[in-house]
């Protein structure tokens, strides 16, 4: 018997998948295919963002857009955790803090350039993801929420209390990006245009990093791991029954989220040249979560819109001074009431886009003559295991 099945974890396959034999319509060509359209659209937005500073922008606009892009990175990371894997995380800024502090400490104490700190930051984030996720991912969602909240607070308070993190005033004088002896602070003249502002360099760095973060998270969401995440979100037991180690998959979502958050933290630290515990209060976890939910959980364009809204709305409302958070709150309530699945829900497609022409006419599925539509199913009498 044992010889029949071998000694590896997996026994040899009995089955091979049959080839599909029902003819499927061709995929739509060109821009009518939703994926291609969105890619193209993303590219246009990216180029527009790259060109924007040359056309019309003030340091203020650039600065708030830079912050907004950090929010986009954070939201994309949290989207992996909340949107794809369905794990409610109320302490996401913990990872943001880990990234920012790790990079900040290495930069100010050891004089590393921001680039050099990145590998260490990645390690720290993976470790943080495992430490936070490891013991808690067995918990049900609502308990997970409070535990993650607790971890977020623990990280912030620890940073606030320790000497190495600079205590309540944090770390200052984080070095800027530098390559081969040239740093952003030095400025440069390219194509006859004088780049003398660090603000601008960070903007470009963040456009690229934010773009990569968006593409990376979106790709993960569509691949093997993404399907596993979504399956865990939709039905954990069924996912487990599909041969998915749900614990490991959830942990991977945490780690990916941690990496995204940590890298965003690195960029924030060097953008502001400073890291302080006030940047990691619970409110910011809630805001990033809001970006994800407001935009549409699991939806890349939605989350981007959500992040831009959450970060830019308070800035745009600055002129309302004292009223701005009041208005912000009202806007949030109204948006959710009218768009409960988010501004741009996952699975939504623009109406003029189709993956392919309508599927399977009746003639094409003559083999399945028994395909009679069934009416309402009987309610199941036993509870799920």
């Amino acid at each position: 018997m044992a010889s029949l099945f071998g000694s590896r974890d997996r026994i040899d396959d009995l089955l091979t998948a049959p080839a599909p034999f029902v003819k499927r319509p061709e995929q739509n060509k060109g821009l009518l295919h939703p994926q291609r359209f969105m890619n193209m659209f993303g590219l246009i937005v990216f180029i527009a963002a790259m060109v924007l500073p040359f056309i019309s922008a003030t340091p203020y606009i650039i600065s708030i857009l830079t912050s907004a892009l950090i929010y986009v990175m954070l939201a994309m990371g949290l989207n992996v955790v909340v949107g794809y894997a369905g794990l409610l995380d109320l302490g996401y800024v913990a990872f943001f803090a880990v990234g920012a502090y790790t990079s900040g400490i290495l930069s100010t104490r050891l004089g590393w350039s921001v680039f050099e700190t990145i590998p260490v930051v990645l390690l720290a984030c993976v470790a943080a993801g495992i430490i936070i996720g490891g013991p808690t991912l067995r918990l049900r969602t609502d308990y997970l929420a409070i535990v993650t909240l607790g971890f977020g607070e623990i990280v912030r308070l620890t940073a606030n209390n320790l000497a190495i993190t600079g205590g309540p005033s944090g770390i200052h004088g984080i070095r800027t990006f530098s390559f081969f002896g040239w740093s952003f602070a030095d400025g440069a003249t390219l194509f006859g245009i004088d780049f003398n502002s660090k603000v601008l360099f960070y903007y470009f760095v963040l456009i690229v990093a934010g773009g990569l973060a968006v593409i990376g998270a979106a790709r993960l969401g569509k691949g093997k791991l993404g399907r596993a995440w979504k399956s865990v979100r939709d039905d954990e037991d069924a996912a487990e029954a599909m041969g998915i180690n749900t614990y490991r998959v959830k942990l991977s979502a945490y780690i990916i989220g941690a990496i995204w958050g940590g890298l965003a933290g690195v960029l924030m630290g060097s953008h502001l040249t400073a890291v302080s515990p006030t940047s990691f209060e619970f409110l910011y976890s809630a805001l990033v979560l809001m970006a994800v939910v407001l935009g549409g959980m699991g939806s890349t364009p939605g989350v981007i819109i959500g992040a831009l809204f959450i970060s830019l709305a308070p800035e745009l409302l600055r002129d309302f001074a004292d009223w701005r958070y009041l208005i912000f709150g009202v806007l949030m309530v109204i948006t959710m009431i009218f768009r409960p699945k988010g501004v741009w829900p996952a699975n939504a497609m623009l109406p003029w886009l189709h993956r392919r022409s309508p599927m399977r006419s009746a003639a094409e599925r003559d083999e399945s003559d028994e395909a009679v539509v069934v009416t309402v199913p009987e309610p199941p009498e036993e509870r799920r295991p």
């Binding site: 808690t136 909240l149 308070l157 979560l289 309530v333 959710m336």
Partner: protein
């Protein structure tokens, strides 16, 4: 030691009052009502306004007036709770749960900054201060107002417990918590029960707000935020959705904080409390009294 326990229990009873609202709402519509802490803050400001208007009576009739103000504030915050539910949560009843969470945060902003617009950002001082000479009990310094407040808190919780366990309305609440669909089929008016739950939870939070105002004296527009987090934690420790759990959780959290401060110093207190929470949940993932909750899932 006894002082630590007493301090913990006293703070804990405030947490418990607020946690009950959190827990009840959660039990019934599975919503983490982030605006709940702000209802507590609203209660404080209501009490502040009401007391201000009857300040002439305060000299002689302090306690009865205070109780009346407490009652009126509870009515007011309860009503506000019902309105919040109608406006911000009911339209989203069938939406993803996180959507409602966001409107809850939105409502929280609205309440906080609404009050800020009215009363300004600096703290207000309550017109009446509960003070009294301490009595010593087993080395613990206890004041009369502390006892009065704890008695009021205990009484409120007792009546709530009677109401939920014995009355017809309470039964309806519990049935919805167990199975909303089935309750609907059994002819329970779900909307009405949810409104009632919000009323009770918000009224209790409002009561805690007035009491905190009267005891501590200063109130401000952000005072609900921290206690909201604490109450949420307390509710989870006790097993969220469970009435007794919320009460117990509040007291446990109060004790944890009291002892944590003593052992590790104030700056590590919350780290200690949260670490205990996490360690505890890792071993008993449903909270102290969470068994009953797991049936509800």
């Amino acid at each position: 030691m006894t002082q630590l326990i007493w301090n913990g229990l006293f703070v804990g009873s405030f947490y418990a009052l607020v946690a009950i609202g959190y827990s009840m709402v959660y039990g019934i519509i599975k919503l983490l009502n982030f605006a709940h802490g702000d209802v507590y803050m609203l209660g404080s400001f209501t009490g502040f306004l009401l007391l201000g208007s009857v300040s002439g009576l305060l000299g002689t009739w302090s306690l009865p007036v205070l109780l009346l103000v407490l009652l009126l504030s509870m009515l007011f915050t309860g009503t506000i709770g019902v309105i919040i539910e109608k406006v911000a949560y009911r339209p989203l009843r069938s939406s993803p749960r996180l959507a409602v969470l966001i409107t809850a945060v939105g409502m929280s902003f609205v309440l906080e900054y609404g009050i800020r617009q009215i009363f300004g950002p600096s703290p207000r001082v309550f017109p009446v201060r509960l003070a009294g000479d301490p009595i010593f009990f087993l080395d613990a310094r206890i004041t009369l107002p502390q006892i009065v407040l704890m008695v009021i808190a205990a009484a409120l919780m007792y009546f709530l417990q009677r109401y939920v366990m014995k009355s017809r309305e309470g039964r309806a609440m519990r049935s919805i918590a167990l199975d909303t669909q089935a309750s609907l089929l059994m002819g329970v008016n779900v909307n009405k029960v949810i409104s009632r739950t919000f009323f009770i939870g918000s009224a209790l939070a409002g009561a805690a707000g007035v009491m905190a105002g009267a005891y501590y004296g200063s109130i401000d527009f952000l005072m609900g935020f921290i206690i909201g987090l604490k109450a949420f934690t307390a509710a989870v420790i006790g097993g969220i959705g469970n009435l007794y759990g919320a009460m117990l959780g509040g007291l446990v959290l109060g004790l944890l904080e009291s002892f944590g401060t003593n052992w590790l110093g104030g700056q590590w207190r919350d780290v200690f409390a949260f670490a205990c929470l996490i360690a505890f949940l890792s071993f008993k993932p449903t909270g102290l009294l969470g068994e009953r909750v797991s049936e509800r899932m």
